[in-house]
């Protein structure tokens, strides 16, 4: 693989992404929806919740991540599924026949953009929400706050990459979205509340450990994120296997 080819191919992937409305909208939505929902929630119920003795102020600051992660999943999915509509992959692979270069560039561009959007979202969400709480609000100096903002950004990027890998395996955006969105919205809520040992290792449950001020359970904040990273890596590897092996 010639070293010089990497940048042009990554640049081409960026052009493909930004010229596709569905992907671009999902990416912007990661930030916009998360911050907007945060503003809405904190403007209405934030102060009341802040007085609640059971509340966990740091984790609650990222409540809107429940929605932001769906946008992140959509972004990763549409970025790849666009290659599987009506044989577009053939055009892409005719231009970049080295499949490792093609897939690697796509993963890097999607992951990079998702990380950028994720970090902006992490800090944006935290600062926006806390601003509504006035004197009750947390600052970035609060224990674990910066870690949660950075980790939250990585969390969103990893969820996007999980979707990238799954989409490359299943070759269908609809299939991936109809697995991942119900999973994060329902299954994980229900199973997660059972607090069993296994549930803690589900990708979203494990990854969200990083948003807690003092995580309980087996996994610490970074260990939890590492578990999510392992899920994403497994999905990306399976996707690579599919892209490398299958006829286009």
């Amino acid at each position: 693989m010639s070293r010089t080819a990497v940048l042009p191919v990554a640049h081409a992937e960026w052009i493909k992404l930004k010229s596709l409305r569905s992907s671009l909208v999902s990416l912007v939505t990661v930030f916009a929806a998360t911050v907007a929902i945060t503003a809405l929630v904190f403007a209405t119920v934030g102060v009341a919740e802040a007085d609640n003795a059971d509340a966990e102020p740091l984790f609650d600051a990222f409540y809107a991540f429940n929605f932001g992660q769906i946008a992140a999943i959509s972004f990763g999915t549409t970025a790849v599924s666009s290659e599987y509509t009506s044989g577009a992959l053939r055009i892409s692979l005719a231009a970049v026949p080295r499949r490792g270069l093609f897939y690697g560039s796509k993963v890097a561009v999607v992951g990079g953009l998702a990380l950028l959007a994720g970090l902006l979202t992490g800090f944006g969400t935290f600062l926006t929400g806390q601003a509504f709480l006035g004197d009750d609000g947390l600052g970035l100096g609060h224990p674990g706050a910066v870690r949660a903002c950075v980790g939250g950004g990585i969390y969103l990027a990893l969820m996007a990459l999980l979707a990238v890998g799954l989409t490359a395996v299943l070759r269908s955006g609809v299939a991936v979205l109809s697995i991942l969105i119900p999973f994060t919205l329902i299954v994980s809520f229900v199973v997660g509340d059972m607090d069993s040992g296994v549930a803690a290792f589900l990708p979203d449950k494990a990854g969200q450990q990083v948003l807690h001020e003092a995580p309980t359970g087996t996994l610490g904040p970074w260990a939890g994120l590492a578990v999510l990273a392992a899920w994403a890596a497994a999905a990306l590897l399976a996707g690579w296997w599919a892209v490398r092996r299958r006829d286009a």
């Binding site: 042009p8 081409a12 052009i15 010229s19 569905s22 044989g87 053939r90 005719a94």
Partner: protein, 313 residues
Amino acid sequence: MTSIDVQDLTKEYGTTRAVDALSFSVRPGKVTGFLGPNGAGKSTTMRLVLGLDRPTSGTARVGGRAYASLDDPLRHVGALLDAQAAHGSRTARNHLLALAVSNRISARRVDDVLAEAGLAAVAGRRIKTFSLGMRQRLGIAAALLGDPAVVMLDEPSNGLDPEGIIWIRELMRRLAQEGRTVLVSSHLMNETATFADHLVVLGRGRLLTDTPMPDFIEAHSHPRVRVRTTDPDRLRDLLLAKGYVLGDADDGRWTVEDARAEEIGAIAAAAGIPVLELADERASLEQAYLALTAAETEFAATAPAAAPSVQEA
């Protein structure tokens, strides 16, 4: 010189053998027509040449190298596979720009090929608003993007209007004259005869013919002449006397089998018979092709059985 070399190429999908021990070469400087009925393996062969599908066995090489090993392959090989494949949400320009950038082709070249394909005015429109003919033109523009020495077009005239068909025909002729290797698939013999110098015919994945176009015409179609005169009776007697076989007569119009216009014209002139119309015809080219591929047609319409057999209890 860059040629396409297919050697013992076989591709199986499950139990179906789409390409079967296929060997042929496509040479530069001429247009090679790639013919065969639907399902004969033409598109599969092109995908194998581009490394999109993996051969079950055998090799397909461009300029002696596997396509996937080429640096910036669009600068070597331009291909139109399926005009519907471009993602509809992108504009024509962005679609080509992404391809150009990935192969280090200048953005100026994008505007050049858009203009060449007659799409300059719609470069900023989303591809999903394009007609089939415009998509074909976009696919051809993409194939020309890297100024490649090898051009492969899968049924390029699909959906083109008559003006577009003339355009693509002249484009292919010009590309060949510039010394490029041009492989063009079609399932229409008469259309292919208008632009191809060489002919490769497939049937059920096997090579049926690999021959220069004039040789194929010579071998498979006998010449005949269409003639119209104000004095059909005298011309008929004259031609029959000279041993010609006459085809259908209709309103003073004859066809003369196994003859050329210059012979018939000379005979009529010598006898002082006025000729209103005189033309060579190659009517049986399509028939020759159909006869060649008849046994190898996968999706031929079969005549229903004459009478259903009655099963006895």
